[in-house]
């Protein structure tokens, strides 16, 4: 039993987060937002923490998910699960194209390419108002209940109803991504991150691996975008702009890379603290500027790294035992 708990301790922490949020927060929308941004950060973490790719293109996939869901829900009668699935596939396909272009370059040029593509997709969305609503965004997106063969499984009427829906999807994705990072593929990604030259010499075509990582990341991020659009009822232009990429990266780095729970922690921290700060001070984003500086200078493991340090201080022996089985 203990072994089973240890094996799935990250998933347990995610379940714990899902259970704690309603108890901590008064607003169901805020709680859903935490999980939605946690999803986006999970996708970013797969690239940054496991494949070693600093992508400024995450906003593209978030936006594509938002618009795909918005367009399909306002113009077609497709059932909601099929719409979500289509948004996820659209995210993966667009990520495949973005990745195919960007992976050709390494380091700073890779980053620049993702940045350039983000700007490009923003202007595509801006200049096709018949599809995206342009500056105003895509309005009147309905929040549909989850029904199977006429039975309503989840009504999605109130904010807390919707939280349950998001929470279920979040846990499914968390479990799936945990499985992906523990797979042969995930282990090979880590090896590619640490020593790409050796991986090539061993016979791996590293472009293929990075591309697959991009597509998984794009799919997860698009799901986040789609869920966000359905919650707010609008797919605004801000969901695909450069700032969205920035926020997703900020959350991922604040939380810490290379561990999936860290992204959940980062999302909770960012969403809750920014909600609280925005009541008090209109220039609240400045605070995150300082926080990012602090993390970059003194705490590169992010909040998750800080928690681990704290844990090690409090229980040195347990932490030492834990170190053995940790991800390298």
């Amino acid at each position: 039993m203990t072994a089973l708990l240890c094996k799935h301790k990250d998933l347990l922490l995610a379940v714990l987060a899902v259970l704690i949020l309603p108890w901590m927060l008064k607003s169901g929308s805020l709680a859903s937002e935490v999980l939605i941004f946690a999803l986006a950060a999970l996708g970013c973490n797969l690239l940054l923490g496991y494949a070693g790719l600093l992508s400024f293109g995450q906003g593209i996939f978030f936006g594509v998910g938002s618009y795909a869901l918005g367009i399909l829900l306002t113009r077609t009668g497709m059932p909601m699960p099929a719409v979500l699935l289509t948004a996820v596939v659209a995210g993966a396909v667009v990520a495949g194209m973005v990745g195919w272009l960007a992976i050709r370059q390494k380091g700073i040029y890779f980053v620049m390419l993702t940045l350039a593509l983000t700007q490009m997709f923003y202007f595509i969305a801006y200049s096709t108002p018949e599809w995206t609503g342009g500056d105003n965004g895509l309005l009147d997106i309905p929040t549909l209940p989850l029904t199977v063969f006429g039975h309503t499984l989840l009504p999605n009427k109130t904010a807390w109803d919707y939280y349950v829906f998001v929470a279920i999807l979040f846990l499914l994705v968390f479990w799936a991504l945990q499985r992906v990072v523990d797979s042969i593929f995930g282990r090979t990604l880590l090896a590619i991150r640490d020593n790409p030259a050796r991986c090539t010499a061993l016979g791996y075509d590293i472009v293929q691996f990075k591309l697959l990582a991009f597509m998984v990341s794009g799919a997860v991020t698009a799901l986040a975008g789609a869920l966000y659009a359905m919650m707010t009822g609008i797919a605004p232009l801000t969901s695909i702009n450069y700032h969205m990429s920035e926020v997703i990266l900020l959350i991922t780095v604040l939380g810490g890379t290379g561990n999936l729970v860290a992204s959940v922690l980062g999302a909770a921290f960012y969403v809750i603290v920014s909600d609280w700060l925005s009541y008090m001070w209109p220039r609240w984003l400045l605070v995150f500027g300082f926080l990012l500086m602090a993390v970059s200078l003194y705490l590169q493991g992010g909040l998750w790294g800080a928690c681990k340090l704290l844990f090690a201080r409090l229980r040195p022996t347990a932490a030492a035992a834990q170190r053995g089985e940790e991800h390298p």
Binding site: A197, C199, A201, G203, F209, P328
Partner: protein, 255 residues
Amino acid sequence: MTTDAILVATDVVKRYGKFQALSGVSIRIKPNTIHSVIGPNGAGKTTLFHTLTGTVLPTSGSIVLKGQEVARLTDYQRVQLGMARSFQVTSLFPRLTVRENLRLAAQGVQPGKALAFWSKALLTGVHDDLIESILKRLELSACIDKTSSQLSHGQQRRLEVGMALAAQPQIIFLDEPTSGMGIDDIDAMKAIIHGLRQDLTVVLIEHNMGIVMDISDTITVMQLGTVLVEGTPQEVKGDARVRQAYLGNMITGGR
């Protein structure tokens, strides 16, 4: 006589901008031999290695491996055809265990399987026999569960050779396997390389003339991007051009 060589390179040229690192190198490597490439720094030994293994593509020339033209193939494609290499500067996965280092190396010849993002990583089980036999050969069996960063320099150099062996190649390229090693480690490495000859073909860059002269079947001496002399250790030792060019005392031991 072209059929008996496992690898035939003809007129290989490599240019970096205006600088010509290799100007028309031809080399024939016979199976189950140890073929050493020597020469002073800057002679183009490592560049020749890079072009033969595909780490860089040659500017022009032909490279035929087991009857197949491979000059335009990338390094990861050539691995699938039975070629593997080690690096002059140790290039391992420092945070992974010795076992997983070798597992990754063995998996490299079936890279498609490593794309399986839904199958559990088989950290033990699949390549166990291969990994154990390599570790035994390299006398590293006791280190299997250490991370590669915990190994001594000599052990890391041996694992570096093991990484190339794990692909079960027919021809293996070793780039200065003894670099930076202590005297005891050097003898062990020499025995390991000599033992490889039974199963596969070894192409070796090495600065330690003791090793080169003792275990090589053929030696190619390079100078300024061309082949100066090629022959058995005896022929190379006796060659006036080699003495005159640069080796002199190093080869003949000062006599």
